[in-house]
Symmetry: C2
Subunit: 154 residues, 2 copies
Amino acid sequence: MDEPRWLNENEMAAWRGFVAATNLVARHLERQLKDDAGLSHTQYEILVQLSAAPDGSLRMTDLADRLITSKSGLTYQITQLEKAGLVGRRSCPSDVRGVFAEITEEGWRVLREAAPGHVAAVRAALIDVLTPEQLTGLADSLGTVSDRLRATDG
Amino acid sequence: MDEPRWLNENEMAAWRGFVAATNLVARHLERQLKDDAGLSHTQYEILVQLSAAPDGSLRMTDLADRLITSKSGLTYQITQLEKAGLVGRRSCPSDVRGVFAEITEEGWRVLREAAPGHVAAVRAALIDVLTPEQLTGLADSLGTVSDRLRATDG
DNA sequence: GCAGAACGGTTCAAATTTGAACCACCAGGA
DNA sequence: TCCTGGTGGTTCAAATTTGAACCGTTCTGC
């Protein structure tokens, strides 16, 4: 039981900044999306991921990995979006167990409708308040962090 | 309805990195704290904030602002922590409506117990994977983001 | 003083999230 | 072929989170 290496001032500032920015941005965008498009950020992200996939569909597990949520959480949200008609489920030909989530026409429409406002909010909160150099540095640092965690946590 | 300013490659990388790092770090620390100390990250943060306050206590609203959660959410968590004996409630002398949350001896004990493992996890996930220069840049950028959002969102 | 607005916390119902248990089903070796 | 160990998704109960409604209290301007 060694004496732990506490954070120095510089490290603490980075950590507090990370936690604060994380929560503030999340809350801000959550509200913006809910108010302007009636979607939660999770739901919006689902639509984005599906829309970016080759044929507008992804396997449940694949999608859960990208969203970084639990499998059961995804099942719940897909069911909600299905009720709303924004996505559908399709079974996988090569694996009976498999399920594809697929964005519908209506899903595309809602996404197109929501995107401009969301991008504007992301700009206002994060992008446009930083210099291009800062953005590059941020992308670089957070990319490293993500890669490491994906490697260790799976 | 102007054409929205979409994100360029650099901006998109920063944004995706932010979202990914945010979720991955949150999930990682949530698990670490739950496994090692039986606390949620929110609960841990409550203890940290109280322990750092002058006399180990803060007004509910003040605490909610620092944690960036809703008032009702804080009421719930303080109740949980109170049941567990880690914090107590004290009424405010100068304002009958006011309530102080106060860390208890047991709360201090649990916090001291949990801190080393948590700091180690924070180091492994964020601090030690970056250079000091990156950390400074990160603190700077995210500090800016937080300040702006606090100013606009309140 | 006093009416009315704003504040500080709690309560409530509804939505979401999580992990564990479960149920088929695929894959690989004996 | 037949086990056996994972895999892919769903189901379930329990914990958490949120916003709106609420209630007494404090503050303001008049």
